[in-house]
């Protein structure tokens, strides 16, 4: 429909350097992909908020937050994976450019998460976890590759366990082994060794000090003073108290939102779209 105004070249305007294939394959992949990349999110937007918004385009299979490699906190992008291509297209068509959590987000097709494609993913690795399969086999759950989602790594405790597991997996399993494995290359490379040191350095950071799910509760004293927010919003928040809270509480933490670009080589890999654009 309405091809009159569609730039036929648009889908190929960007090229992810890490994509294992040529330009044509890349475009083919984007045309079939059921994953979207979501950028320009607020660092404080939760998975649940994204879930609520993106489920309006269709049933969501999975959401994965992009994390800052140093702080292991969300850093403004995520991936949303749908079951169907139509839903994926609708997400790109209708959600890109709208507001989530006061920020205009961008939504693009992403090549990630395509199991069993020509660039050699493992034998339907991710498919095993494909939920509610009608050909469900009760053994499936037991056969699951124990795999790990990077998001967990921003937590201590349980997250830490899980991280170790990732490391273990990385030794054993090639990145091509499953949906999550295949996902690694475009995620911030996990810096497990360094993470620990960093944590020491940012010991006081509230993100690490508090349970993540309590985040919403504390959001009001999160920094609402982001200059980039809509000016009306800042005006609408008369809460000087919370601002002071923020100053005292969070100043020591390097605000990830103002992270300098090109901090390091890997930095750009964290957000492949930044590299691409």
């Amino acid at each position: 429909m309405a091809s009159l105004f569609k730039d036929p070249n648009k889908i190929s305007a960007y090229r992810d350097k890490r994509f294992p294939g040529n330009q044509e394959e890349f475009e083919q992949t984007l045309l079939k992909s059921t994953t979207v990349y979501v950028g320009n999110m607020s660092f404080y937007t939760t998975e649940e908020q994204a879930y609520e918004l993106f489920s309006r385009a269709g049933e969501i299979k999975k959401i994965t937050m992009g994390l800052d490699k140093n702080t292991k906190t969300p850093c403004g992008f995520c991936f949303v994976m749908y079951y169907s291509r139509e839903d994926t297209e609708d997400a790109v068509k209708y959600i890109s450019g709208t507001i989530l959590d006061d920020r205009p987000i961008r939504v693009d097709f992403d090549w990630g998460f395509q199991e069993g494609r020509q660039w050699g993913r493992g034998r339907s690795g991710g498919q095993v976890r494909d939920e509610y399969r009608t050909d469900y086999d009760p053994d499936i759950l037991s056969n699951l590759l124990v795999y790990v989602v990077l998001n967990l790594s921003y937590e201590g405790g349980y997250g830490k366990l899980v991280q170790k597991e990732i490391e273990a997996q990385r030794q054993l399993v090639d990145y091509n082994a499953g949906s999550l494995g295949s996902f690694h290359p475009i995620m911030p490379p996990p810096q497990y060794g360094r993470r620990h040191e960093r944590n020491q350095g940012y010991g006081g950071s509230r993100r690490h000090g508090r349970d993540f799910h309590h985040r919403k509760r504390y959001r009001d004293d999160d920094h609402r003073d982001d200059d980039r927010r809509a000016p009306e919003m800042s005006r609408r928040i008369p809460d000087h108290e919370s601002r002071r809270d923020f100053d005292q509480d969070s100043r020591p933490e390097k605000n990830p939102r103002f992270r300098e670009r090109g901090d390091s080589e890997e930095d750009d890999e964290g957000d492949h779209h930044r590299r691409r654009r």
């Binding site: 429909m1 309405a2 091809s3 009159l4 105004f5 569609k6 939760t46 998975e47 649940e48 908020q49 879930y51 609520e52 918004l53 309006r56 385009a57 959401i63 994965t64 937050m65 079951y83 169907s84 609708d90 068509k93 209708y94 959600i95 450019g97 709208t98 507001i99 989530l100 959590d101 006061d102 976890r129 939920e131 509610y132 009608t134 050909d135 469900y136 759950l141 037991s142 699951l144 795999y147 989602v149 998001n151 967990l152 937590e155 405790g157 349980y158 366990l161 170790k164 597991e165 349970d211 993540f212 799910h213 309590h214 919403k216 509760r217 959001r219 009001d220 009306e232 609408r236 928040i237």
Partner: protein, 863 residues
């Protein structure tokens, strides 16, 4: 100098290509001047592009028609091709049932007729073909009246052309067009009135069908066209650029159109029954849906300047832009605000978009699309449109008790999403009065659910902030902060044994024990001593707590320890207990409850039947009229089941294709092998059968391999087909369970709440009905202090709400019966016989039967 392409595309628009000039005549001259010169070299490009523009920007068809008329003076051959191509496209559209394309191409032919490109008599022949097909369809003996939807569509197409060319037809072929109109009149008299039951945005729970007095869509259009005819075919909304060129255009050659054919009538089923006819009618209406159902939410004063026929034309323009420019935000919005009409139409535009957002059974696109359109229009017309949108919201809010449940839910989702794009600013004080209403008052529930959805898109404090200044009391309607409710958090009152077990279990998870080890811990140390109830409670609470931090945490826990859960909850009873625990843990967070249950169903830890049972348990049923929470969970379960069936169907159709390909490849390989085998080759001087051994081996391997591939593709197809068959059986069980549950849960309350088959609305015994004049009397003016007025109106509406709780409960539940049935009607129809035998029995309450029938759009026969 702009290219011919841009000039054709942008003709009639205020744009740089044409300077600041907006005179159609100048545009046409400029465009014609350029296209004429290009015709010689680029006619192969120009023709398809021109047709594409006419098809996708149909509000500019008169301009494109005139342009072709001018080109006709220059290059008859080119224009002959335009006419031929249009004919071919129209024929394709008719055969494939592409409604929008058919309608638009007919309009284009009409415009070509106006520009003297097409013989008027050719257009009449097309009309007569459509008319005759329609008349046959509705004929009881020769046709198949179940397909009236298609017949009505054909007539709609003819009538829709007349605003564009009625005057010209009457002038040139008055007898013929009269004959067509007489034919349409005859058609109108034999077709059946289309009842809106089940698809109207506003509920009518009266047992007597009130809609009889109202015109259906076609009757309404017919009367508008008759008005147009009696006013000399004059209207304001259709530009007539060809008139400026009339003296030249008459010199062009008028082309003929090859005849078109309508597709054959679908045969009636061999053994027609009520069900088979109902099913067929349902299918026909799905293929030829009604384009718009007017909401009539604005008072007449807002629209009175626009004549009925102009209203129709503007609606056509808007619906066309919405349809053809889907996905092109900027252009779509700018065409919508810049239609070629000499009057203002913001209210009409808002009403048209809302009518699409709320269209039943479903709009052409996802509600999300209309959300985006409304956002874009608010930005494009910041001075005018937001106030009109607010007016629409107020009008719908005032009628919320009557609004269909599906529409109400879409409205809630839309509204929260819309506000999230505009900093959550809304004059909540207007609605603060809902707090005085009982908990189950639809307006109150609406506000509560909008706030819930706002919070999901944002966060609690922010939404509180957004209401606190103007309507602090509404805080009462905010859901609790969405924190987990872990059973063993509080020190006092918790069961210490269970607490310590949960600590132990959490420790094991942290210690990275595998599922197997945890299962044996449960089997050896927990189950035998503490029994199932305690075990289940402890394990589920602990796992949920570990997975509580985010959606991904939850998913990870379920993936790692799903086995533990599935072992523990191995039958429906225990799955219901499991859902109870989820609901307990996330009692403060509806979203997480729904998501957790949804994921558990995804991993088949919970069956959809268990979810149905849980939703209809007493404590949930008690919430039906005061919260959307149980409904969201129920709808998720049904949708998920439906989605997987849809996926399977898709996979099967791909696999079928693969099988064909594999068959071809395999037979080709076999042939090649046979050919090679039949050859005689000289080997070592001796003639030998077959080609050289190396090649023979290759061919043999290939033939073998392709045969295997064919077999394995076929196998996977068979496997998927078996799965689909099973899934369809499961679906049948799901719907049977669902309707049984509805029937059980409603039986007594309906009996208690009904007098003479009618739900009694208040203590005084008034029938439940909202005065229809109420809405038209409402003043929706928002520009000059109107909000106060509307407040008082709302207040009035609020005061008049005097529904007893049990009656509202019945109304809400019945409304959900209808909306769920409608949403999944295509999956329910195949099981209609079974439903009739097992559910829709004699003793079913007539109101419940009515709700199911209207959801299915099934004609009611008998009582």
């Amino acid at each position: 100098m702009s290219s011919w392409r841009t000039l054709v595309l942008r003709i009639g628009e205020k744009c740089t290509e044409y300077g600041a000039n907006i005179d159609f005549k100048d545009h046409l001259e400029t465009c014609f001047g350029v296209v004429r010169r290009e015709l010689e070299h680029s006619s192969d490009d120009i023709l398809p592009f021109l047709l594409q523009c006419a098809e996708e920007l149909p509000h500019k068809i008169p301009l494109y028609g005139t342009l072709v008329g001018l080109l006709n003076l220059e290059n008859e051959e080119f224009v002959r091709e335009v006419v031929e191509k249009t004919q071919t496209n129209l024929q394709d559209a008719l055969y494939t049932g592409s409604c929008n394309k058919t309608r638009v191409l007919l309009r284009f032919l009409t415009a070509l007729m106006c520009s003297k490109v097409l013989q008027p008599s050719s257009l009449i022949v097309v009309f007569e073909t459509l008319l005759s097909s329609a008349a046959t369809t509705v004929d009881e003996d020769k046709g198949n009246p179940s397909w009236q939807a298609r017949a009505d569509f054909y007539i709609t197409c003819i009538l829709s052309c007349l605003p564009w060319g009625g005057a010209e037809l009457v002038e040139q072929v008055s007898e013929e067009i009269d004959r067509v109109l007489v034919g349409i009149e005859a058609y109108m008299s034999i077709r059946s009135h289309v009842s809106d039951t089940g698809l109207s945005a506003f509920e009518d729970f009266d047992v007597n069908d009130k809609s009889h007095g109202e015109k259906d869509f076609l009757e309404d259009l017919w009367s508008r066209i008759q008005d147009l005819s009696s006013s000399g075919w004059k209207l304001e909304s259709v530009p007539r650029p060809h008139l400026s060129f009339e003296p030249q255009l008459v010199g062009g050659k008028a082309h003929d159109l090859a005849p078109i054919n309508c597709p054959e009538q679908p045969d009636s089923p061999a053994a027609p029954s009520d069900i088979s006819r109902g099913r067929e009618k349902y299918e026909a209406e799905l293929k030829y849906p009604q384009r718009i159902r007017r909401l009539n939410i604005f008072p007449a004063s807002k629209l009175e300047d626009i004549k009925p026929i102009d209203r129709f034309v503007v609606e056509e323009y808007l619906l066309d832009v919405l349809f053809f420019l889907n996905g092109c935000r900027k252009e779509g919005a700018s065409y919508m605000v810049g239609l070629p009409v000499p009057f203002r139409y913001e209210y009409l535009m808002a009403e048209t978009i809302f009518s699409q957002l709320l269209l039943l059974p479903q709009p052409p696109f996802r509600p999300l699309y209309y959300t985006l359109v409304i956002i874009d229009l608010c930005k494009a017309l910041p001075g005018a449109f937001p106030a009109v949108v607010a007016g629409a919201v107020r009008a719908l809010f005032n009628k919320i008790a009557d609004l269909d449940m599906e529409c109400r839910t879409r409205l809630i989702l839309w509204f929260a999403h819309h506000l999230s794009n505009f900093q959550f600013i809304w004059p909540w004080e207007e609605w603060a009065y809902v707090l005085e209403l009982p908990k189950w008052a639809p307006q109150r529930v609406f506000v509560q659910e909008v706030l819930e959805r706002e919070i999901r898109l944002s966060y609690w404090e922010k939404i509180k902030q957004s209401i606190i200044e103007n309507a602090p009391t509404l805080e009462e309607l905010l859901p609790p902060k969405g924190l987990p409710n872990f059973r063993y958090t509080a020190e006092d009152g918790r069961d210490e044994t269970e607490h310590s077990l949960s600590v132990e279990l959490k420790g094991m998870v942290k210690g990275r024990l595998a599922s197997k080890e945890i299962i044996s811990w449960i089997d050896e140390n927990v189950l035998p001593t503490h029994g199932l109830d305690v075990t289940l409670r402890v394990v589920i609470q602990a796992l949920l707590d570990i997975g509580s931090k985010s959606f991904t945490h939850l998913v990870t826990v379920l993936e790692r320890y799903g086995q533990v859960i599935s072992r523990l909850c191995n039958d429906q009873d225990k799955q219901v207990m499991l859902i109870d625990e989820v609901s307990y843990y996330w009692k403060n967070n509806t979203q997480m409850t729904a998501v957790a249950i949804d994921r558990m169903m995804g991993y088949r830890l919970i069956s959809n039947l268990a979810i149905v049972r849980w939703v209809f348990s007493q404590s949930n049923a008690n919430q039906f009229h005061i919260s959307d929470r149980p409904w969201e969970i129920l709808l998720n379960a049904v949708s998920k089941t439906y989605n997987r069936i849809t996926d399977l169907r898709k996979e099967i159709s791909f696999l079928k294709n693969d099988v064909l390909l594999a068959e071809k490849a395999s037979s080709k390989a076999r042939e090649e092998l046979e050919v090679a085998e039949s050859k005689i080759t000289l080997m070592d001087g001796e003639p030998v059968v077959g080609e050289n051994p190396g090649k023979m081996n290759r061919l043999r391997t290939r033939a073998e391999k392709s045969k295997q591939e064919e077999a394995s593709t076929r196998e996977s197809l068979e496997a998927k087909e078996a799965l689909l068959a099973r899934a369809i059986n499961e679906n049948e069980a799901l719907f049977l369970a669902l309707y049984k549950s509805f029937s059980n849960v409603l039986a007594e309350p309906l009996h208690d709440a009904c007098v003479d088959g009618i739900l009694q609305s208040s203590e005084k015994g008034d029938e439940m009905a909202i005065d229809p004049d109420d809405s038209s009397a409402m003043d929706l003016d928002t520009e000059n202090g109107g909000s106060k007025k509307s407040h008082s109106n709302g207040k009035k509406g609020g005061d008049s709400y005097n529904m007893k709780e049990n009656v509202q409960w019945c109304l809400t539940t019945l409304a959900y019966v209808k909306s769920i049935t409608r949403r999944f009607a295509s999956e329910i129809w195949p099981h209609a016989e079974k439903l009739d035998a097992e559910i829709l029995t004699e003793d079913m309450h007539p109101l419940l039967r009515k709700a199911i029938y209207s959801g299915l759009r099934r004609p009611t026969t008998g009582p």
